[in-house]
């Protein structure tokens, strides 16, 4: 229970922020926080609190798997890479061949969220494939 005390501010915030399907479990000296955030801002808020408690994320005692809920109505996503183009691949994995590219800042069509990591997308040039979800931001 010691970890739950250490990260109480974080788990309290997760509860208060309305994380759905929230699960807080301590197992083998690691605190697992799972759930779905109503928005990217809420996820960022939780990570900022986590960062406050463990500034360099080096304690290795938390695994926070909080995804952002993307409404079923969302059909457009923006490419939010640092600056480069985003690879679109044949399958969900970096070992898959590249079938197209989307430019930084480009708005493309979201077909489905195949996994939390890889989303199936289509560009305006009709290039269809999987892109890494970390670089995609849903358009409201």
């Amino acid at each position: 229970m010691a970890l739950q005390d250490k990260y109480k501010e974080l788990t309290d915030a997760a509860t208060a922020a309305g994380i759905s399907d929230l699960q807080v479990r301590e197992q083998d000296n690691v605190l697992y926080i799972d759930g779905t955030a109503p928005s990217g801002a809420v996820k960022d808020q939780l990570w900022n609190i986590y960062e406050k408690i463990d500034p360099n994320f080096l304690a290795g005692d938390v695994v926070m798997n909080v995804n952002v809920n993307v409404a079923a109505t969302v059909s457009k996503v923006k490419v939010t890479t640092e600056s480069s183009n985003l690879n679109i691949r044949k399958g969900p994995g970096t070992d898959q061949p590249i079938v197209g590219k989307a430019a930084h800042g480009e708005i493309i069509t979201l077909i489905s969220q195949s996994t939390p990591q890889w989303w199936l997308v289509r560009t305006d040039d009709n290039e269809e494939g999987y892109a890494y979800a970390q670089y995609l931001t849903p358009e409201a």
Partner: protein
């Protein structure tokens, strides 16, 4: 002589009136409350109200058996004519949480490869669900990478071999 008779009369009248009224509601209430309180761990916030010999019980019982026991105990108290039970039953305790599911090493390794691709300064290895990250990385990128790695459901992310620039 007259005085003795008078006293006797008073004594009889008071006895009769005492019997006809039975114990006072307040006394019954105290007795019932004491009996309920004597059953710890069973009832939370038990209250007893007695009016004209009718005892109304309320509070939260842990189960049906506890409720029946309390009602029986209250009925046994002298002066209680009937018992109205407003006890609620406590919700059963929630089931224990399911154990955390850790991603198997093969899919986890694939996910780690994908996640670290854009961070050329770091190397990550997977062993029995534990992702060990070594190398050099900026603070901001490490936060991004940690988010991505945590999303793969590893057992643990060990960054102790990292140099944060």
């Amino acid at each position: 002589m007259k005085l003795t008779k008078l006293l006797m009369a008073i004594a009889i009248v008071s006895t009769v009136s005492f019997v006809s009224c039975g114990p006072k509601d307040a006394d019954i209430q105290t007795a019932v409350q004491a009996k309920i309180n004597a059953m710890p761990d069973m009832v939370k916030g038990a209250t007893v109200e007695v009016k004209d010999g009718v005892a109304t019980l309320s509070g939260e019982c842990k189960d049906e058996m506890c409720k029946a026991e309390c009602e029986k105990a209250a009925k046994e108290v002298k002066g209680v004519k009937s018992v109205v039970s407003n006890f609620t039953i406590a919700a059963p305790p929630p089931p224990p949480p399911a154990p955390v599911v850790i991603t198997a090493d093969d899919p986890l390794t694939k996910g780690v490869t994908d996640a670290t691709k854009d961070f050329p300064g770091v190397t990550a290895t997977v062993n029995d669900g534990v992702v060990s990250v070594t190398g050099e990385i900026s603070k901001a990128n490490w936060k991004k990478l940690k988010m991505a790695l945590d999303g793969l459901r590893p057992k643990k992310v060990d960054g102790s071999g990292l140099t944060i620039k």
